[in-house]
């Protein structure tokens, strides 16, 4: 009979009973937590286990310790009463549960330790390199030991042998001495003091390094216990300063709460946009603390996915999410929003100019229905098409040039300058629409000599507005599909259809039939066609001039990339992400060989990125195991690189 209480996050407690006679509880958890709770004695097994743990850690395996304790029925019953009470208390339940757990989790006997290989997903190092090239700073927050975490960082290319590492650890000698003395207040003081000193000195050193040798990368590594003190309001500023200077930050042994705290620190302290990605239940608070939370759905269940804003299936899909879809989304949003303001501004300002000539009486220039349907029918669909389909460069080019992402980071397309330019052209166009149409319609049209009234002039102006605004959208598109053509032509056709119908009917609902028959008379004059050609061309003239000059003299990055690849054949397929679930094991292995990772990791730890474990353990046992093909190839490629350090090529 087994039952389980998850009382504390780091230790799981299991109770087991054999036929109600022997009662014992087992606990598993991280080594430091379990070691605190062991009974005295058994020094050999403790020492051997510690050695093993270190070995496992440096091999990059994730370790756990197991311990047990015998209980008598009375002990259990008395403890259970307190436990039930604590569990059903209404206030401070967590605190009371912690206290109750402390009562039973002591004097444990160590059984041993376990080590698990936790491979990095495929494509993770390449993904992280690409994102770093895109200007995104990457931090690792993990609950593993420091050695494991450093191994991970090496495998991900966040840290390499050239990187200057700033390490703040709670396993230093001074701290160990304080722990041996046993006074918790003293321990806390010592740790806090040491963290404060380290932060200050590291910060200075980092600043010096940055000014003297800017190309040398800096990495900051801190463990959870020190982090607890570093997040203190007094030390937080230095912590943030140092973290932001360093190129990568690794926090190990962090609890889920600390993960969330670190994320909030950057979010609120540095006011940067933060993105958290995780795949387990312990990442939920971090995912929720960031601006954008991404959950990886997978082996560890769906808690991370359920708490996240976006869910992806593998870590490497993050490049697609950010560099392709995120970037396109930013570009499209900017275009849609600025275009929307522009089209309404130009339309409304035209009426504004009219008021100067109505004695400021507030007479509307356009008929009511024109105004109501402007945003609904005549100009709505094309901008939706742009928002859905506009691409500045294709998906593969977005990933090839991750630096294009910087445009989003620097907010290049939504600055005040951009909006001011749109506003200026809206202003200019409204002047053209109003004054040119009014001036052109002055004295009689056509050989009949009859004069046009206000509603005739306004219908003419409105036709010009609709045509211009739709054509302007086409001018600002980077990629025009046939849906764009349909929607633009369709909107203009919808306007003509509407005005034909509206001019032809007279209902009892119209209090004033202003526009009756207007369009038919207009279209029977040469004036209409001449004005329809003239006014949109003049209105778009300014924009065309500006776009040509801007592209030639001050091109955006994406425009240069477009020009570089303008003769590439169109890629209509193969944007699908590679999937291996349908391959047999043989096929999977040959695929793996073909997808051999080419990271230039100079670290000798082959922990997370190659299946070399069998060889490791086998050699420990003295068993000869045939090398796997990819392992051989990998070792061979590594040997070459040790002699000639290469620069990573980035286009």
């Amino acid at each position: 009979m087994f039952w389980n209480l998850t009382v504390q996050g780091s230790a799981n407690l299991w109770f087991a009973a054999f036929q109600m006679e022997n009662l014992f509880s087992t606990a598993r958890g991280a080594d430091n937590v379990i070691y605190e709770r062991l009974a005295d004695g058994n020094y050999d097994i403790k020492k051997t286990s510690r050695e093993h743990l270190e070995q496992f850690g440096s091999a990059g395996l994730r370790t756990l310790c197991l311990a047990y304790r015998d209980l008598s029925m009375d002990q259990y019953k008395s403890w259970n009463e307190k436990f039930v009470q604590a569990k059903s208390s209404l206030r401070d339940r967590d605190k009371k549960l912690d206290e109750v757990a402390e009562l039973i989790e002591k004097d444990l006997i160590l059984i041993g330790c376990t080590a698990i290989e936790d491979k990095l997903q495929e494509g993770v190092p390449a993904c992280i390199e690409t994102l770093s090239a895109a200007g995104i700073k990457i931090w690792v927050l993990t609950g593993d030991k420091m050695e494991t975490a450093i191994n991970i960082a090496y495998a991900c290319s966040l840290v390499n042998n050239d990187t200057k590492q700033f390490i703040i650890s709670s396993e230093t000698d001074t701290i160990r001495e304080a722990e041996d003395r046993g006074d918790p207040v003293e321990i806390a003081r010592v740790i806090k003091e040491s963290v404060k000193q380290s932060l200050r000195s590291y910060l200075e050193e980092a600043r010096r390094s940055l000014s003297n040798t800017p190309e040398r990368k800096l990495a900051f590594i801190i463990d959870g216990r020190c982090l607890m003190y570093a997040l203190d309001p007094a030390l937080r500023v230095n912590l943030l300063g140092l973290s932001l200077i360093c190129h990568s930050v690794v926090c190990c042994r962090v609890s889920p709460l600390q993960k969330a705290q670190v994320t909030s620190l950057v979010r609120k302290g540095a006011r940067k946009i933060t993105l958290s990605i995780g795949d387990g239940a312990n990442d939920v608070s971090m995912i929720q603390a960031a601006h954008v939370g991404i959950g990886i759905s997978g082996q560890e269940g769906m808690q991370a996915v359920m708490a996240s804003d976006f869910a992806i299936a593998q870590f490497r899909y993050l490049t697609d999410l950010l560099l392709v879809h995120g970037r396109w989304s930013y570009l499209r949003l900017c275009k849609v929003i600025t275009y929307f303001f522009y089209k309404n501004l130009t339309f409304t300002l035209t009426q504004f100019w009219f008021t100067f000539q109505t004695g400021f009486s507030g007479q509307r220039f356009y008929d009511d229905w024109f105004q109501s349907l402007y945003n609904v029918i005549f100009t709505a669909l094309p901008v939706i098409m742009v928002g859905l389909f506009d691409k500045d460069v294709s998906a593969s080019l977005s990933k090839k040039y991750p630096q294009l992402y910087q445009e989003g980071i620097r907010n290049t397309f939504f600055k005040w300058k951009v909006i001011a330019v749109w506003g200026f052209f809206a202003f200019y166009q409204s002047i053209v629409f109003y004054y040119f149409t009014a001036a052109a319609s002055q004295h009689g049209h056509g050989s009949s000599g009859k004069i046009l009234g206000q509603w005739d002039v306004s219908t003419m102006a409105f036709t010009c507005v609709v045509v211009t605004v739709n054509l302007r959208l086409l001018m600002s598109c980077n990629s025009i599909t046939r849906w764009h053509y349909f929607s633009v032509a369709g909107s203009i056709a919808a306007w003509f259809l509407f005005i034909f119908i509206y001019s032809a009917i007279m209902t009892s609902f119209d209090r004033q039939e202003n526009v009756y028959f207007v369009i038919y008379v207009l279209m029977s004059t040469f004036f209409f066609y001449l004005t329809l050609i003239l006014v949109p061309v003049i209105a778009l003239f300014g924009d065309f001039l500006y776009l040509s000059l801007q592209r030639w003299l001050f091109p955006y990055d994406y425009q240069v990339v477009q020009e570089m690849h303008k003769d590439d054949p169109h890629e209509y397929s193969m944007i699908r992400l590679p999937e291996r679930s349908h391959l047999s094991p043989e096929e999977a292995r040959s695929y793996a060989i073909s997808m051999l990772p080419r990271e230039n990791s100079k670290h000798t730890g082959f922990a997370f990125d190659s299946p070399g474990y069998e060889s490791f353990f086998a050699s420990q046992q003295g068993v000869c195991v045939p090398h796997k093909p990819w392992d051989v190839a990998r070792r061979a490629s590594m040997k070459q690189q040790r002699q000639q350090p290469q620069r990573t090529g980035r286009s």
Partner: protein
């Protein structure tokens, strides 16, 4: 728990030949949803810029020339008479114009500057008259104008709605203020007849103003705003009213008065006998008489021609300027060095 998810998801997959394949959860591929529609990716290269400017120039200049020629062919005589037609001994012009007992006939002579071919259009032009004022524009009731049975519909016609309890037909300020100066012409001592039919839009006559609606109770109040209407003529034949009620867009406007079907020669004299009835003196308005010919483009309006010519010329100039720009400041298309991360000497 579930070892072998392959078995789990392809539970009925025993019929599959070959290796068991996991049922893919990918949505069905379609070009629309995967954003892979074939697209044209226009780039504004120098070639395009210069060709567009040249094309616009080439199209616009001939059109501009044709429009300007048409406008120059139009011969126009404009004669302002509102100040000249008040006798010089009158100091209070407002009182003069409002006095209905004085005769306001005035005689003007016009000289024809160039040959004018028939039909010659007679317009009256008003300045500083805001027919586009909001309260003026809304002051009419179209249902009443159209339908005899709706004669009592006078909503929106304030303040000219009812007189002595009865509805005014046609109600509203626009109808009340109809222009009422009249003109007769003599050419070299021959009387010229003016054709006052078909001066309004046909659609207005047929559909907006009813043929069975007669003016009633009109201009019976203390303030007379303009023309009085003959109560036996239906509205659809009251062309002056119809022309006036098509409100103008700008404060300076012309309205068609009639047509003359006689050719006029250069240096001919036209004598106009006009009744200076309409009161523009209370608001500094101006009245003018206009005689004009018309071409395929309409009356005298240089604007279209000039605009086309200007834009065409500007486009040619810009095509030339851009050619210079591309020669002076050349930039190889797709030059790597223009990427901002290559331009910055210190990468980051």
């Amino acid at each position: 728990m579930n070892s072998g998810d392959a078995a789990g998801s392809s539970s009925g997959g025993s019929g599959d030949a070959g290796a068991p394949r996991r049922a893919s959860r990918k949505p069905k591929y379609s070009k629309f949803t995967q954003q892979e529609l074939p697209a044209c990716k226009p780039i504004l290269t120098p070639k395009w810029v210069i060709s567009v400017f040249l094309l616009v120039g080439v199209i616009f200049v001939p059109i501009g020339v044709a429009s300007l020629l048409a406008s120059n062919k139009v011969v126009e005589i404009v004669d302002r008479y509102d100040d000249a037609c008040v006798p010089s001994n009158v100091t209070n012009k407002l009182a003069y114009i409002q006095n209905s007992t004085i005769s306001k006939t005035c005689r003007r002579t016009l000289k024809v500057p160039k040959d004018m071919k028939q039909p010659i259009f007679v317009y009256y032009q008003l300045n500083n008259f805001y027919q586009n004022h909001r309260r003026y524009v809304k002051s009419r009731n179209d249902q009443q104008l159209r339908d005899a049975s709706k004669a009592n519909e006078t909503t929106l016609c304030d303040p000219e709605k009812t007189r002595d309890g009865m509805a005014i037909v046609p109600c509203g300020l626009i109808a009340w203020s109809t222009f009422n100066d009249t003109y007769t012409f003599q050419h070299n001592t021959n009387n010229l007849s003016i054709d006052k039919t078909d001066i309004s839009w046909k659609s207005d006559r047929d559909h907006k103003f009813g043929s069975d609606v007669f003016p009633k109770n009109f201009q019976k109040g203390p303030l007379i705003g303009g023309k009085t209407l003959n109560e036996s003529i239906p509205l659809s034949e009251q062309e002056d009213l119809i022309v006036w009620m098509r409100t103008a867009a700008l404060p300076t406007f012309r309205k068609l008065y009639g047509r003359i079907y006689v050719d006029l020669k250069e240096n001919d004299t036209i004598t106009v006998t006009l009744d200076n009835n309409y009161n523009t003196y209370s608001f500094d308005g101006k009245k003018s008489l206009v005689l004009s010919t018309s071409t395929w483009l309409g009356g005298k309006n240089d604007f279209l021609g000039l605009a086309y010519l200007t834009v065409g010329g500007l486009c040619f100039f810009l095509a030339f300027a851009f050619t210079l720009l591309y020669l002076i400041k050349p930039r190889k298309l797709g030059d790597n060095n223009y990427l901002s991360w290559n331009r910055n000497s210190a990468g980051h």
